[in-house]
Every structure is written in structure tokens, then in C-alpha cells.
């Protein structure tokens, strides 16, 4: 008790002496909290509003004054999108689930290809010297800066010639063009953070070079593989234009073109489109939030070194 009051007295004296700097300290904390709040609202409010609109009725969104807490919450939009409730644009909505499956297939296959092929190359770049190494690294850097769209006219004709137009295989091939250079780069940067002594001691212990890679280095490369894989999957899951242009036949396209197509139609309520948008965004957002630690680390190292 006495100690507390003594402490308080001391505190008062302290405050009295340094009241001006204390006031400044409080003002500074208040400013920081205020700015943090602004940043938080800026980052999250638009996406949160997408969710709010997706559980609202369109008529409430059109009301003035607008109520920011929906007067009525409904899951009707989601039921329409998932084909559980019939409505006038159900033909459009019926494309959502199949296209989601297409997106999942393409994104998964591209991710597996990237991890198999890109990781191995990244390892070689990080550890070995070989002819044309510098030149091919510059070529990789160049492909990262390339507008993907300039390749699409060529893909259009190439896939047509191969008989792969409007197929998921064709889309998978096209997606490798903008993911593979990234994966090699990210994995190279990641393997450079793993001490080379690890593979050296594996060689001393009797592994050959290939075993040193997949028995010793790969098992401790989880974070890098997760970063590269999750990033590739996210890019493919979100990709819009290539799928829109290459896979025009009904049933062959991915989710983003379907959502964009619904958005272009005036007879579909925004609340319904918002539901499909939120549903489509969720997998990528959850994936990124789940693996954020590895992804942030992998991508920042990959970029800063690039």
C-alpha cells in the first residue's frame, strides 16, 4: 500500500517535472494508434464490404441513406451462386462451381510442375557453376519483366496447331510461362539461405550429389517450397486474361472469367456477383494468410536479390 502510494507520488513528481514530454509522448501514441487504424481500415474495409454486400439484399444496397449494417442478413445470394436456388440468371451461376474445379485443376498441376522443375533448377543456380549460368539468369530476369499478354497471340495459334485450344492442358502450358521463371528465382534465393556446408557434409557421409539434394537439402527446404508453391498457386488461381482469351468454349474456362462475365451483365444483382467474388477470393486469401510467414520471407528475399 505504502509502496504503491510512494510509487504514485514518485510518478506524480516525475510527471510534474516532465509533463511536457509526457504529453508529447501521449500525443505521439495517439497519433500512432490513429494511423494504425487508418491503415487497417484501408486494407480491410473494401474486402469486408464485399462480404457485407454478399449477405445483403440488393434493395438495401440501393437505399438512401445507406445503412452500413445490413438491416437483413441473407444467404440467398450464396444459394443462387451455388445453384441451390433458382433465379433468372441461373445459367450464368451454374458455371461457377465447374469453373472453380477447372481453376483448382489447372492451378494444382501448374504448382506441381513448378515445384518439380523449378526447384531443381533453383538448387543448381544456388550451388553450382555451369556454362551459360550468368546468361540464363539474365534471360530469367528478362522473362520476369515481360508482358505475358505479348505471348498470348502466339499461344493462341500454337495451342490451336497442337489441338489443345480450349483445353485445360493448353491453359496449364500457358500458365507455366509466367510462373516458372518466378519459381526458379524464388527457389534460387531460398537455397542460397541454406548453408552449403549441409550438402558438403552429406557428400562426406557418402551421399552422391543427387541424394545430397533430395535426401538432405529438400527435407529442410519446407519453408521455401511452401513459399514458391503457394505463390504459384495464388497466381494461377487469380489469373484472368489468359484464361479469358484462350479458353472461350463454355465449360473450359476458369473462375475469374466467369465472375467477370457475370459482372458485365446488367440483369444480375451486384449482391449476387459479390457472393461469387467473395467465394472465389476466399481460397487464395486463406492460402496466403495460412502460409504468410514463409511467403513474405520467400518473396521479399526473392525480390530484393532479384
Amino acid at each position: 500500500m505504502s509502496r504503491a502510494s510512494a510509487g504514485a507520488a514518485l510518478g506524480h513528481a516525475h510527471v510534474a517535472v516532465r509533463s511536457r514530454s509526457a504529453a508529447r509522448f501521449v500525443a505521439r501514441r495517439a497519433l500512432v494508434y490513429g494511423l494504425v487504424l487508418v491503415v487497417a481500415v484501408w486494407l480491410i474495409a473494401p474486402f469486408a464490404w464485399l462480404f457485407v454486400t454478399s449477405v445483403s439484399y440488393q434493395k438495401h444496397l440501393l437505399a438512401r441513406p445507406l445503412s452500413f449494417i445490413p438491416p437483413e442478413v441473407t444467404l440467398e445470394n450464396y444459394r443462387m451462386v451455388l445453384g441451390l436456388k433458382r433465379f433468372h440468371a441461373e445459367g450464368q451461376a451454374a458455371k461457377i462451381l465447374p469453373s472453380m474445379l477447372n481453376t483448382l485443376i489447372v492451378a494444382s498441376v501448374v504448382t506441381v510442375i513448378n515445384l518439380l522443375v523449378g526447384t531443381t533448377a533453383g538448387y543448381a543456380y544456388a550451388r553450382y557453376r555451369f556454362p551459360l549460368k550468368t546468361l540464363s539468369l539474365y534471360a530469367l530476369l528478362f522473362t520476369r519483366m515481360l508482358p505475358t499478354i505479348v505471348l498470348i497471340p502466339a499461344f493462341f495459334l500454337m495451342l490451336r496447331a497442337l489441338g489443345l485450344a480450349n483445353t485445360l492442358s493448353g491453359l496449364t502450358i500457358a500458365y507455366c510461362s509466367f510462373t516458372l521463371p518466378f519459381t526458379v528465382w524464388i527457389m534460387k534465393a531460398y537455397f542460397e539461405t541454406i548453408p552449403g556446408d549441409l550438402d558438403k557434409s552429406a557428400l562426406v557421409d557418402g551421399c552422391n550429389r543427387l541424394q545430397a539434394y533430395y535426401r538432405v537439402v529438400l527435407p529442410v527446404s519446407g519453408p521455401g517450397l511452401v513459399a514458391g508453391g503457394a505463390f504459384t498457386f495464388m497466381l494461377c488461381w487469380n489469373e484472368f486474361l489468359v484464361a479469358q482469351v484462350l479458353n472461350t468454349k463454355p465449360g473450359t474456362t476458369t473462375l475469374p472469367p466467369v465472375i467477370a462475365g457475370m459482372n458485365g451483365q446488367i440483369n444480375i444483382d451486384y449482391s449476387v456477383i459479390a457472393a461469387s467474388g467473395f467465394l472465389g477470393a476466399l481460397p487464395a486469401v486463406l492460402l496466403v494468410l495460412l502460409f504468410q510467414r514463409y511467403m513474405v520471407q520467400g518473396l521479399t528475399t526473392g525480390s530484393i536479390k532479384g
Binding site: 500512432v32 555451369f130 497471340p153 500454337m158 472469367p257 451486384y270 513474405v296
Partner: protein, 342 residues
């Protein structure tokens, strides 16, 4: 920047290995007798790299050349006869070579030049906004406050959304009939009636810049934060002892230390600004009129709405050249800064 990190081994180490029965100078030029005795390290590495490089050659290199060829040809998509590349029974049409005709017609098109200047404005505004907001958010998140890790995860949300969804949700905020931002301003009595942000060309262009910035600035923030974390704490202490206030520390300690990353953000934002396409598709389709038509949109439209592949690829190739030239300039700048710091 592109470090030949394969040179890590020391000669002493290689010597030890050789005496240990010749397991091989890993990372060196000595042969490894185990596993693949006939392969040198260089061939082993080439074997690891080959699948990826071959793949990239097939899905990037070849299409890039083929597109370039189309930009020099008169492309008729319906024509199936005529000259063609044939291999393994696959037949790629080569069309009629017309030299630089496509480029010539692009460069006399006033729409190309108006799109060019619009693109320049777009890129400048986008780079400025992304750098300023990205740095601003990094400075705020660099402060200590409860829930800082959570805030850093929130950064990833705008960045992980598909541009289709980004366009969709900003439409929900800005629409002239149901936009929430309009609703907010209206409820606060700041506007009499809802604003149609997309009706006026210049306002639509600026909205595109800001929406794209909302999507991309968080990544710049992550890069800035990573760079700030590597600034030694005692530099700040020393500055504080010298009586430097917040802004002085920012100007004299933080910014010089993260300068390479600032340049990196400028490079990435410039390239991303030039390449932006999907948001235009979702939000404005290049309109009203041609008021949000950038070079990438013009090339895309020409190639895929009008199916003029020759002209379209020519337009897109001017964009590619522009991007690469700028990247080169920035990289030189970046390298010089690094050398100056060293």
C-alpha cells in the same frame, strides 16, 4: 546482384575431400566418383537446370519469337494454307511477311500516341502513389503497437485478391447507384447525390490508378519493412543522442539505408504500371470513349477484340521494348547505388 555463389568451396575443403577417398570437390571442378561418376559438377548442374530452361524456352522463348514474327506479318487467322513451320506433324502458319508495315501503321495512328501519353500519366501516377503509400504504411507498421503481427497479415489481403475481385469490390464502393463510399459521403451530408466516378474519363483513369495501387502497395510495404528491419538499431540510437527528431532520423538514417529497396520498388511499380490490363478489362473496358485506353489495352483490344494479330503484336512489342529499356535504366541505377554504398 547475380552472385556466382557456386564458388563457396575452399581449396582446403576440396583437398580434404580428395584425401578422404575422392568423394569429389562438390561445387568445384573435381569429379565425383559416387552416384554419377561420369558427370562433372557442371554437367550435373546442367542436368538439374535443363528441364526448367527447356520448358521456359518452349513456353516463353518460342512464343516470344513467334509473336515477334506476327508483328512483321499480315496475319489472317482464317487462312490455313500458305507458308508454315512444320515439325512432328504440327503446322504453325507463318503468314505473309510485310516487314515493318504493322509498326509503321501503329506509329501514324493518333490513338496509339494518345494511349502512349495516357500510359505515361498512368505509370507516373501509379509509381508515385505506390511508393508514397507503400512507404507510409511501412513507417506506420514499423512503430511498436499491440497487434502488429496481425496488421502485417492484413497487408496480404489486398495483394492476394484476383484483379477481377479487386475491380468488383471497388465497384461496390464507387458505383453511382450502390457505392458504399458514395453512401458514406451522402450520409455525412458531404454530397447531394451519388458521384458517377467512372462517367468522366480523367476521374475514371485516376480511380484505376488508385485501385491498382490499393492492390499493389502492400507488397511495396513488405519490401520496405524487410529493408527497415536490417537497419542497425544503434544508428537510430546515435541519431537520437545527437538530438535528431523523427523526421530527421527518417531522412538521414532510414531512407539512405533502404535506398536500394526504394529503387527496387520504383522498378517493379513502373513495370507493373505498364503491364496493367486486367483491371481495365473489369472496371472500364478502356472507356468512356478511349479515356482509359493505355498501350497494353490498345494492343489487347486490337489483337483479341478485332483479331488483328499483326497490328496487335506490334503494339504489344513497342510496350515490351519500352518496359525492357526502362528496366535496364533502373537496373543500372540500382547497381550504381549499391556500388556507391559499398
Amino acid at each position: 546482384m547475380i552472385a556466382a555463389s557456386g564458388s563457396r568451396s575452399t581449396s582446403g575443403y576440396a583437398g580434404v575431400l580428395r584425401t578422404l577417398g575422392g568423394v569429389g570437390g562438390h561445387f568445384g571442378r573435381v569429379r565425383a566418383p559416387l552416384g554419377a561418376p561420369h558427370l562433372t559438377d557442371a554437367s550435373f548442374a546442367a542436368f538439374l537446370v535443363l528441364p526448367a530452361l527447356l520448358g521456359i524456352l518452349l513456353v516463353v522463348g518460342f512464343p516470344l519469337l513467334y509473336s515477334f514474327w506476327m508483328s512483321l506479318a499480315q496475319v489472317n487467322l482464317l487462312r490455313t494454307t500458305g507458308p508454315a513451320l512444320e515439325f512432328f506433324g504440327i503446322r504453325l502458319p507463318l503468314f505473309k511477311f510485310v516487314g515493318i508495315d504493322n509498326y509503321a501503321s501503329v506509329f501514324v495512328d493518333p490513338l496509339y500516341w494518345s494511349s502512349f501519353w495516357r500510359t505515361a500519366y498512368f505509370v507516373l501516377a501509379f509509381v508515385a502513389e505506390t511508393t508514397v503509400v507503400g512507404l507510409g504504411m511501412a513507417l506506420v507498421l514499423q512503430e511498436s503497437f499491440p497487434g502488429r503481427p496481425l496488421m502485417r497479415s492484413l497487408l496480404l489481403i489486398p495483394w492476394s485478391l484476383s484483379r477481377v475481385v479487386v475491380g468488383l469490390l471497388w465497384q461496390g464502393l464507387l458505383d453511382g447507384e450502390f457505392g458504399a463510399l458514395n453512401g458514406l459521403l451522402y450520409n455525412l451530408g458531404m454530397i447531394e447525390s451519388y458521384i458517377a466516378f467512372f462517367k468522366q474519363g480523367f476521374s475514371a483513369l485516376n480511380v484505376l490508378v488508385s485501385v491498382y495501387m490499393w492492390n499493389q502497395a502492400p507488397f511495396a510495404t513488405l519490401l520496405f519493412l524487410a529493408a527497415m528491419q536490417s537497419v542497425p538499431e544503434d544508428h537510430y540510437m546515435a541519431a537520437s543522442v545527437d538530438g535528431a527528431g523523427y523526421w530527421q532520423r527518417l531522412w538521414h538514417v532510414t531512407l539512405p539505408a533502404i535506398r536500394p529497396v526504394v529503387f527496387l520498388v520504383l522498378v517493379l511499380a513502373t513495370v507493373n504500371g505498364f503491364l496493367m490490363l486486367d483491371l481495365i478489362y473489369v472496371m472500364t473496358m478502356g472507356g468512356p470513349g478511349h479515356d482509359t485506353t493505355t498501350i497494353s489495352w490498345l494492343g489487347f483490344q486490337t489483337a483479341f477484340a478485332f483479331f488483328k494479330f499483326g497490328t496487335g503484336t506490334a503494339i504489344l512489342y513497342t510496350l515490351t521494348a519500352l518496359c525492357l529499356a526502362l528496366t535496364f535504366v533502373y537496373h543500372r541505377l540500382l547497381l550504381r547505388r549499391f556500388e556507391a554504398d559499398a
